[in-house]
Subunit: 320 residues, 2 copies
Amino acid sequence: MKEDYFLEIIKKTLPESADFIGDDTAYIAEKDLILTQDTLIEDIHFRKSTISPYYLGRKSIAVNLSDIAAAGGVPAYALISLSMPENIEKTFIEEFYKGVHDICREYEIFVVGGDLTKSFQITISVCLVGFGNGLIPAGRKNAKAGDYVIVTGNFGSSRAGFEILENHLASDTLLKFVEAHVNPIPRIKEGRKILEIAQTPALMDASDGLADALSKICLFSNVEMRINFDDIPYDKDLSLLAKNEEEIFKWILFGGEDYELVGTVSEQSYKKLVDSKIPVKKIGVVVSPDNLPCPYVKFGNKIIKIDAELINKELFKHFL
Amino acid sequence: MKEDYFLEIIKKTLPESADFIGDDTAYIAEKDLILTQDTLIEDIHFRKSTISPYYLGRKSIAVNLSDIAAAGGVPAYALISLSMPENIEKTFIEEFYKGVHDICREYEIFVVGGDLTKSFQITISVCLVGFGNGLIPAGRKNAKAGDYVIVTGNFGSSRAGFEILENHLASDTLLKFVEAHVNPIPRIKEGRKILEIAQTPALMDASDGLADALSKICLFSNVEMRINFDDIPYDKDLSLLAKNEEEIFKWILFGGEDYELVGTVSEQSYKKLVDSKIPVKKIGVVVSPDNLPCPYVKFGNKIIKIDAELINKELFKHFL
């Protein structure tokens, strides 16, 4: 997907909206509204053979919740547009909405509408509405030199889960990776706490990979980052699946679909976050831009510059 | 599409949301929010060969604006999820968003986000956010015996336009039908005025056909209607395209995609609407239910009962 190229065209054609185009959420200050929308398409974003309708229902809401989490917002209402072939099984619909029902109850959000239509592939487009509730949502423009770079959980697990599902590798010790892939946990509580404590954090979710999130924060905040690969949290059992250290590195940085938060906060805010028992981990620091505003990752003896070219080359496209 | 069957399954699986499921818009009273979402899929809802990208952009917003119009609401923000094959032409994107841009400017709404992804067919899912702004949005439950049944414009024109496009019949006198099909006018101003004057009208748009809208109002308000076919406004040039009177009848009642408003208001409100120069026309009256709550249409010497069975049989499914 030549997404950046398309985004530039859209920005030019919709100049009034240029500030909003390309962001995962929109914040309407005068109404305190946070809006986000994500579409999942069969055989592009998922395969019917590797995710059950129940988890597909959960995930279609979770990926949108993750965007609200990255804003530090409070999610409230969902609209679900479900398009499907006419011969779909009744149990598919029941299980899909059971998944929707369960995750909506867990996060106290309410399905208020949507659309139902015929299609060739199963297509799910969810719009989620949330609120800032007294806090101004985080974005990706707030990183400052001296900030700590933080993350909320493990990376590479979703990519490993995908590997297991595609290659029928499941064993019970590895099921946690499948779980990470089909049932990601949106970091609503963590996002809110980070916003409450840090007030103006930079924050994104890592849905398109850790490297992508770090690099977007650098680009939009005009900063560099020094990331220490050894500090990035990941499940050591990745080594049971990956061919070598280089593959683990790629899964962690470019694997995608880890719905963890990635952000920057001041040293004091980081300490308060740790004290508040929110599971955040420091993986590096923000520095003033010397050159191109992008992350540099120390991996063994090497310093790897994460520029757009590398991301385009390495970003794992699950089905694209 | 066995839509009603699917809706029943969804209502059972999402019991908390049952009141919202199946409605074209959701109204969140405590936030004064009106939410709606509609999805258009290539070769299901449109064909690339019969609608240009510019008008597709306009129409994808217009069909959602029409739902806000039926609520009598004030539209404000749009999210657009566009999914498309990777080899899409640059001009497609430019023209599509030019259409979006123009209609958004005309209706003073603002594109604040969305999603861009790869797909097999062009798929557009738009979420529109509006507000009640001091008035409680109309629904389909408010029809009362004695009310007048009103509509805002011509019926059958979109169906005729579809006929022209599919069968390459265009002549300059008939282009108005093509226009009605590809560039429908959402009745925002009319819907707002109806709500302001009538306060508690029943109101829907006729996107799935006049018969469907009338029958849903009857069902949800538990009333019958006496409709006089000769009072339903339509362009007399339909006779240049339709085979006979019966076909004109079908196009008008079941053709669909006429984004006109259909509703019920009191006699006094109707007079005020006519005085205010809002182009509404009375096509019948609401009566207490004798039997099944549904519309009865006088067509020549016949009285035709518009029940679910007839709608299922006759509803024109453009590509389904």
